[in-house]
């Protein structure tokens, strides 16, 4: 029999700052092509000797991980599972730039060592002296959900008791310049929001979101994690059956879903998928979050934090409402999250109040 899985602690470093009770009441809507995360002070958390080599992604990851573990009163988790689309791209940028500028000579070791995708999870393990299972998933827009699936399996099967789950992506100057040149990111100087989107591309950002997942419910628990499903490619016309299969597998009817958190990012083509899914859930309140998080491969973890917040505090911060379709609700029991990017990497996640 499957064991229940709970979100017992959350930690984030995002464009909206770090996780706190007032998180969603102090947010601002992003309107720049690239918005860096609001960095906290890392002094006292990371030794000066270690911090000088760390990129922003590493520092953000360590901070968010510590915050999530502290809230759940977990000192050392049994496993660390993370998801990242581009990994430590700042160090990759640095290493490749030096390779180019120095004609493949004088290559320094630090940026090379730290350019791997699993650097954040490894640094967290070193920091915590955690010698358990340590895996990083790199699967584009479903990197975080892939990690979530692994964490869920580890806990549901009883293999582990506490799993630290995270999603991290950082801004790297050259990599983001390439994404801008390819039209994925809006051009510099354009000020548009998710809802006021005219020019090509979307607003990008960076962030680290960590969750202390446990097999036992605690006083700090936010929600119960029910299930996740992944699909690499999907036509808009297949969205309904993708949803239906997931709901049936988990014994849900469409009317059981109180809110659906959608990954609207301003891209009209992406909207088609979200609109199609929304139509299948006429009684669910549509919410969104990428106007606050910005787009990056693991940004759906921000959406999960939003879902957990709503379920724990039984209130929806007004900034999360997608439209005026807000049927009056006093309780929020089941929340579904749907994310995809450019018609690929589709994921459905369902969480329940506990």
């Amino acid at each position: 029999m499957k064991k229940s899985v709970f979100i017992n602690g959350i930690g984030v470093v995002t464009t909206q700052g770090v996780w706190r009770a007032e998180f969603f009441s102090e947010v601002r809507v992003l309107d720049h092509a690239i918005t860096p995360a609001d960095q906290p002070s890392y002094k006292g958390l990371i030794s000066p000797g270690a911090i000088r080599r760390m990129s922003r992604g590493m520092k953000m990851g360590i901070y968010a991980a510590q915050q999530a573990l502290a809230e759940a009163s977990v000192t050392i988790p049994d496993a660390i599972v993370t998801g990242t689309g581009l990994g430590c791209s700042e160090d990759s940028d640095k290493f490749l730039r030096s390779l180019w500028e120095n004609e493949e000579q004088f290559l320094t070791p630090t940026s090379f060592i730290q350019s791997t995708h699993n650097t954040v999870a490894a640094q967290i393990a070193l920091q915590l002296q955690c010698k358990g299972y340590n895996v990083t998933y790199v699967n584009g827009g479903i990197s975080f959900e892939s990690a979530l699936l692994d964490a869920l399996l580890l806990l549901q099967t009883g293999e582990e008791e506490h799993v630290l789950l995270g999603g991290v992506d950082e801004i790297a100057e050259q990599t983001y310049a390439f994404l801008q040149a390819a039209g994925y990111i809006k051009a510099d100087g354009i000020q548009e929001t998710v809802k006021n989107n005219v020019s090509p591309g979307v607003n990008y950002a960076e962030g680290a979101q960590f969750f202390s997942m446990g097999a036992s419910r605690m006083t700090s628990s936010y929600a119960e994690m029910i299930d996740v499903t992944l699909q690499n490619e999907l036509e808009v016309s297949e969205t309904a059956s993708f949803l239906q299969d997931f709901l049936v597998a988990n014994n849900f009817r469409p009317e059981d879903i109180d809110a659906v958190i959608l990954g609207y990012n301003g891209d009209e083509k992406d909207d088609l998928f979200y609109n199609a899914l929304q139509q299948e859930l006429p009684l669910a309140t549509p919410l969104y979050y990428k106007h606050l998080s910005g787009q990056y491969d693991s940004c759906s973890a921000f959406g999960l934090a939003a879902a957990a917040f709503v379920l724990k505090y039984q209130t929806v911060p007004p900034i999360l409402y997608w439209n005026e379709k807000n049927p009056p609700k006093t309780t929020w029991k089941n929340i579904l999250l749907y994310n995809q990017y450019k018609g690929k990497d589709h994921s459905l996640v369902v969480v329940r109040a506990c």
Partner: protein
């Protein structure tokens, strides 16, 4: 030699990203590794690359590195005697 020592201090701070440290904080005879500045083995590799890139000195014998990288003083002496750039 004094100019070279100052240049070395600035380069080390820059290459090793030594936050909150200025050239004035590093004494010429202070140990770079261990007790002194607290550098480690990865820093040693960075210093080897620095010597090669900036001064044209290739260090192939790691044992030599121990003596050369003792302090700013020893580094500056070795560089001034062996530099090709």
């Amino acid at each position: 030699m004094t100019a070279l020592k100052e240049e070395l201090k600035r380069q080390i701070i820059d290459v090793l990203n030594l936050e909150d440290i200025t050239p004035a904080d590093i004494q010429d005879d202070e140990a770079l590794f261990g007790e002194g500045l607290g550098l480690d083995s990865i820093d040693a590799l960075e210093l080897i690359v620095l010597m090669d890139k900036t001064y044209g000195i290739k260090l192939s014998d790691p044992k030599k590195g121990r003596d050369i990288f003792q302090s700013i003083e020893t580094m500056a002496t070795y560089i001034s005697e062996n530099r090709t750039k």
